[in-house]
Symmetry: C2
């Protein structure tokens, strides 16, 4: 597609504003506002982006956050969410929210008892209570949460999986996707399908085509970042994108490192979420314009320079590496917040620099820079 | 002293601006700015008020915070503090800081090996290393920290203690106080003596007189909130204040509940610090204009009202009790911050209402209100 064609491509949810090769900038028109793409979504697992408040998220320019259906279904539960008229009002975040369907957490956190054609039967990781999640219930919960974008329930294909296992699992996810689409009731809330198929490119494309036949508002690439190699991740992303419609948003779920994000956008991905900036931040592993900083390192003890001189977040504007090291070493709660603020600001600044590079047709150079920075 | 005389009383550090009975409003003129009194000082034990940043502290009107010499001496250590030119610059808090001398923590946290006339010999609670703290070193550390007000090293008299034990311990503290006064080098940083004497009013007055003879910039009442009854605390406060000079600031250390603070100010105390608002906040116990709220209580599950409608802190302006309950129940880090913000805002709002009542000569009524509120 030429740049001109790309720029004119527009659908109800998505508008492409510029392109550079496969990469594109655009706008998602969602119930709670417009989100610029490419975008990274901070993860607010159980009703908060850990250690932060909505005010913090706005301060470094967050446009959309992610919530976890599995966690929110268990706690606070739907009775509370209904009483508060949805997740936005409960957590006091006024901008868009995307929720996952809960499938991934059932497989990774809950005790999975059985998967049937009907749905996933599992025990809560909190109290062991026996629960089931069907495609229809996953949609109902997410529509109750009121997320601007919700995801279909899918089966998380284990890694490694044989081709037969991956295909059988993918085909079930496609049947569930169709049930999710039928269960959708609120037309002002968008629904994304999820491409599965393990590490098999043809299965990925078969999955993408099946989803396109059903017809979704956007398409996610799921089941990655589960142990496969970087080249497998890249190949699966490319295989899916070859088939996915250009005029719909593409979301690479659970990915990833800063380099993964540049690589993904270079290949045509529009949306990302990952716990890496938040979780690594709490663990003292920080992303900067000169690479990773392990803030607990003793070499920062007397360092009165900012963590990242190129970053304008509250943490970098205010504090020294020496102080951040001290807070982390002393186990101070404030350390988690300051580190999380910086790491998320780094990710969102990265996204801004990528958008700018797309506009200037220089994404290849930016990608080369990040390959050098993070592979070294 | 009449109101007129009180209002004209002024010393280098302290200026009384109004009185209501024994209570007074005033101003502390410190190196890093003016502090209005009465004042409550949030506790920043080891270089942060736990879960907060300086920006947070300013948002709800903190004028001065407290640091712990024992903790800061162990971590980050004086090499770091010297490199950063003092605690203010290290933690990026530009307003005044008061530091305690470390005595209390040696007795409560460290493994106390021996007290000699020279000082306290103890092992670090962190790594067991053997350390000594003498009166001279306590002053040197605090002058290196650069705290606007520092405290003399004192021996924390155990509770209960016989009269003989209390007197012997107090007399040693008085000898240490004199050594601290002699060790003081930086005249722009103020030094407070600490009244000891257990629960024996005459020993308290003997201690106060000994300190006055040495001559300090202000006087603290120490060794309380260690297990004695409320009436013992009140009696010791009254005994000391009968003797302490009216024109110097009075500081009731480690106290206390909101009611303790109103009671203390009513008796002529000017300054307070306590971990209660911060520690209780992290544990979900919140102070409000209608009494205590245990936010983990299930009855708040569906409660969409603010924690305290009379409070204008970020937490109360933004969130519901239902959301605060959820964050606490889910163990979210954000819960600690939102609860701490509210509890400290409550304490500082309380201080504001007390200052206003003093100006309006209505502190007795405010005290009656709080006795009814907190004793019920």
């Amino acid at each position: 597609m030429s740049d001109q064609k790309a720029a004119s491509a527009k659908s109800e949810i998505f508008e492409i504003t510029d392109t550079d090769g496969e990469a594109r900038t655009g706008k998602l028109h969602l119930k709670h506002g417009v989100v610029n793409t490419p975008i990274f979504m901070p993860v607010g697992t159980v009703g908060s982006v850990k250690s932060l408040t909505p005010e913090d998220l706005l301060a470094f320019g967050s446009e959309i956050i992610l919530g976890n259906t599995y966690h929110l279904y268990l706690r606070p539960g739907m009775e509370v969410i209904k009483k508060f008229g949805g997740l936005h009002n409960f957590i006091q975040w006024k901008k868009p929210i995307l929720t996952d369907s809960g499938g991934f957490q059932i497989f990774s956190l809950g005790k999975l008892n059985k998967i049937t054609e009907d749905g996933a039967h599992f025990q809560s990781h909190l109290d062991g209570s026996k629960l089931s999640l069907t495609p229809e219930l996953a949609v109902e919960i997410q529509e109750t949460l009121g997320s601007d974008i919700h995801m279909v329930l899918d089966e998380c294909t284990p890694y490694p999986a044989t081709r037969e296992q991956a295909e059988s699992s993918m085909m079930r996810s496609m049947r569930w996707a169709e049930r999710c689409r039928k269960a959708r009731k609120k037309l002002d809330l968008f629904q994304f399908g999820i491409v599965q198929g393990g590490v098999y490119p043809d299965l990925r494309q078969k999955s993408a085509k099946a989803l396109i036949n059903i017809g979704f508002d956007g398409y996610a690439i799921g089941g990655l970042s589960v142990g496969e190699s970087k080249s497998e991740m890249t190949n699966m992303t490319e295989a899916a994108i070859q088939v996915l419609p250009k005029d719909k948003p593409r979301y690479l779920m659970g990915v990833g490192t800063p380099l993964d994000i540049v690589e993904g956008i270079y290949r045509g991905v529009d949306m990302f979420d990952c716990v890496m900036p938040t979780r690594n931040g709490r663990n003292g592993s920080l992303f900067t314009s000169t690479g990773r900083v392990n803030i607990k390192n003793n070499k920062y003890k007397l360092d009165d320079s900012p963590l990242d001189p190129e970053c304008s977040c509250y943490t970098c504007r205010t504090f020294s590496k020496g102080y951040l090291r001290h807070l982390f070493a002393a186990g101070e709660v404030t350390s988690m917040r300051l580190n999380t603020i910086h790491n998320l600001a780094y990710y969102l600044n990265l996204i801004h620099s990528i958008r700018k590079a797309i506009t200037e047709r220089s994404l290849a150079q930016l990608l080369a820079h990040h390959r050098g920075l993070w592979d070294s």
